[in-house]
Subunit: 331 residues, 2 copies
C-alpha cells in the first residue's frame, strides 16, 4: 500500500490510478482517506463543480457523457476568462446501488468505454452508505480529490430527487435539473423539490411527444417567481442526449451562468465549507460522547430505555448532552 504523502503527490500529478485508490479509501471510510484529504485540501478550490440531477430514466448518464465529450472539444469552453485548452473532466456518478445488485461496477465499465481513449476524463461511481449524510460527505471528498488532480470540471451526477441528492447538487457551483417528457406525471416531476435548486433546466429526449408541454409546465412554474433585474432566471435547454442535439447550447448556458454567478460563487462555497465542517464536528462529538464520556454499554442502555418507552428521545438526548458538556468551561 502506498503511503499517504506518496499518494497525494501522485494525485496532484494527475495519476489516474492514485485518484481511483484515493476515492476507494474515501468510500471505505479508511482513516488514510482523511489524512490524504488533509494533505490535498490546499491544492483544491479550482475545479468548477457541475451538479446534474433528475428522476430515474431522464437520461442523465447519456447527457453527462455527451456533455463531457463536448467539453473536451478544443473549441468548447466554459472558462470565463480567455479561452483555454479543453478542460480535464472528472465525473462522479452518485449511484444508490446496493451491493446486492452490483450495478455500480457494471455501470462504470460500460460508461468508461465511451471515454476510454481519453486520458482527460475520469469516471467513478459512488454507492450509498447506510448512514445519514455519509454519501454527501463522500461525494464532496471525491470531488476534492479530482479537483486536486487538476480536473478543471467535476460533474456530479445523482439519481433521484431526495433530500440527499438535493443536498449534493446544491453544493455544486451549478445545478442542472434534467427532466423528460411523459415520465408519468409532469407535475410530479416539478413538485419534487427541484424547482428551487435548478440553475438550468434540461428537457432531455426533447424529440418525444410532450416535450413542449413539459417546457410550458416549467415556464409556468418559473413565472410564479419574480426575477429582479440582474437575477438569474433558470433557462430551459432542450436536448436529445443520444444524438448530442442541444448539448453545445447546454455548454454555452453553463458558461453564461458561470459568468453571471461569479460574484456569488464564494457565498456558495462558504455554504459548502460550513456543511462539511458541521457534519464532521457532529460525527466527532457524538463519537466522543459514546466512546469517552459514557461507560461501556451505557449508550445501548439509553437506546433500550427509549425503545421501551421508559424515557422519550428528547429527554434522553438532553441527559446525554448534559453529561457530554459537564465540565465544559462556559456552561
Amino acid at each position: 500500500m502506498t503511503s499517504t504523502p506518496g499518494l497525494a503527490d501522485r494525485i496532484v500529478a494527475g495519476d489516474t490510478r492514485a485518484v481511483a485508490r484515493a476515492i476507494s479509501l474515501i468510500e471505505d471510510e479508511d482513516p488514510a482517506g482523511v489524512e490524504l484529504l488533509r494533505a490535498l485540501f490546499g491544492r483544491t478550490g479550482r475545479a468548477y463543480l457541475i451538479g446534474v440531477t433528475g428522476p430515474p430514466g431522464a437520461g442523465k448518464s447519456t447527457l453527462v457523457d455527451r456533455l463531457t465529450t463536448e467539453l473536451r472539444r478544443p473549441a468548447s469552453t466554459i472558462e470565463t476568462g480567455a479561452a483555454s485548452a479543453a478542460p480535464g473532466v472528472g465525473i462522479i456518478a452518485v449511484d444508490p446501488t446496493s451491493p446486492f445488485t452490483g450495478g455500480a461496477v457494471l455501470g462504470d465499465r460500460l460508461r468508461m468505454q465511451s471515454h476510454a481513449a481519453d486520458d482527460g476524463v475520469f469516471i467513478r461511481s459512488m454507492a450509498t452508505r447506510g448512514h445519514l449524510g455519509g454519501l454527501a460527505r463522500a461525494t464532496g471528498d471525491a470531488a476534492l480529490v479530482l479537483d486536486a488532480a487538476g480536473k478543471q470540471v467535476v460533474i456530479i451526477e445523482t439519481v433521484g430527487v431526495g433530500q440527499d441528492e438535493v443536498e449534493i447538487v446544491r453544493t455544486a457551483d451549478i445545478s442542472i435539473v434534467t427532466l423528460v417528457p411523459g415520465a408519468g406525471d409532469d407535475v410530479q416531476a416539478l413538485k419534487a423539490g427541484i424547482m428551487e435548486i435548478a440553475d438550468v433546466f434540461v428537457v432531455n429526449k426533447s424529440d418525444r411527444e410532450g416535450a413542449d408541454r413539459l417546457v410550458s409546465a416549467i415556464e409556468s412554474n418559473l413565472s410564479l417567481h419574480e426575477y429582479g433585474p440582474g437575477q438569474w432566471r433558470p433557462p430551459i435547454v432542450k436536448t436529445v442526449a443520444t444524438t448530442g442535439a442541444g448539448v453545445p447550447e447546454l455548454v454555452d448556458t453553463i458558461r453564461r451562468f458561470r459568468e453571471h454567478s461569479e460574484p456569488a460563487q464564494s457565498a456558495r462555497r462558504r455554504v459548502r465549507s460550513e456543511t462539511r465542517v458541521r457534519e464532521l464536528v457532529a460525527a466527532k462529538l457524538v463519537a466522543h460522547l459514546e466512546q469517552r464520556v459514557l461507560g461501556p454499554g451505557e449508550w445501548t442502555a439509553v437506546v433500550e430505555r427509549v425503545t421501551s418507552r421508559e424515557i422519550d428521545p428528547y429527554t434522553a438526548a438532553d441527559d446525554l448532552v448534559r453529561r457530554a458538556v459537564a465540565g465544559s468551561p462556559r456552561l
Copy 2:
C-alpha cells in the same frame, strides 16, 4: 394558542385538529412541538408503521389511498391477533415540494376528498426542510403524533429513492417498494438502492405492457440472494391501484409479514430509537459548541478559513471538537 398539556390531551383523545396543529409545530420546528412529543412519547409504540416508496410516477398516492380504503373495510385486517375493528389510519406523504410551487397543500386537498367522510383517516403531507436529516426526524415525529392519537396503522409514503427516503422507509415496520412497468429503464429502478430495503415489492399498473418482464427482473434479482429456511423472501404483489385490483392481496401480504417479523420487530424499533437519539444528540452538541463554547463570530471565522483553503475541514473540525470537549472529565 393551545398550551402543550391541553394539546397533548386532545391528541390522545384523537382530536383531528389537534393532530394537525401538532404536526405543524413539528414541521415549523417550534420548541412547543418538542414539549408535546415529550408528553406524548409514553403513549406511543402501538401503531404499525408501513413505509411505501418508489420512483415518481409509480402511482404510490393512488396505491396508498386504495390500501387505506381496504384497511378500513371491517372484514380486512393486518392485526396479527384476533380480528378487530377496522383500524384508524394515518397517512404521512413525504413530499419534497418546494414552497415555490405549493404542491403539498394542493395535494393534501385533492387527496383528502376520497376519505373526507371517514373520521378514521388522517392525511398529511410533509415538505422537505433545507437541512440534513430534518425530514426524516420530522416524519418520525409526525408518526409518533398519529400513534399517540390512536391510529393503529401509520402509512409513510415517500417519493424517490434517495438516501433520505431509504432512511425513512427503513425505520418503518414494513417497507413496500412500488415499481411500475416501462418507467424508463427497469434495471435503473432496481439499481436504485431499493432491493435491500424492500420487504414487499408492488408492481403497480400491472395491466400495462411489460409488467411480467418487470416481475421477472425483480425475481432474478431476488434469486441472486439466498434466503435460508424461515427467512422472509420479499414477495411481489401485482396491483392496479386505479381499480383496486391486487390491493386485498397486498393487505394479506402485509399481515403475513407482520406475523413473520414479530420477533424481529423490536430490533427494528431499537434501530429507530438509536437513529433518533443520535440525531438529536448531534444537533444539540453542535449547537452547544457554536453558541456556548465559541465566542461570537468564531464559527463563521473558522468556516471562512476553510473556504479560503487556509485550513482543511478535518483539521478545523478537530480543533473545534478539542475546544468543545476541553474540560470534559474523561479526556
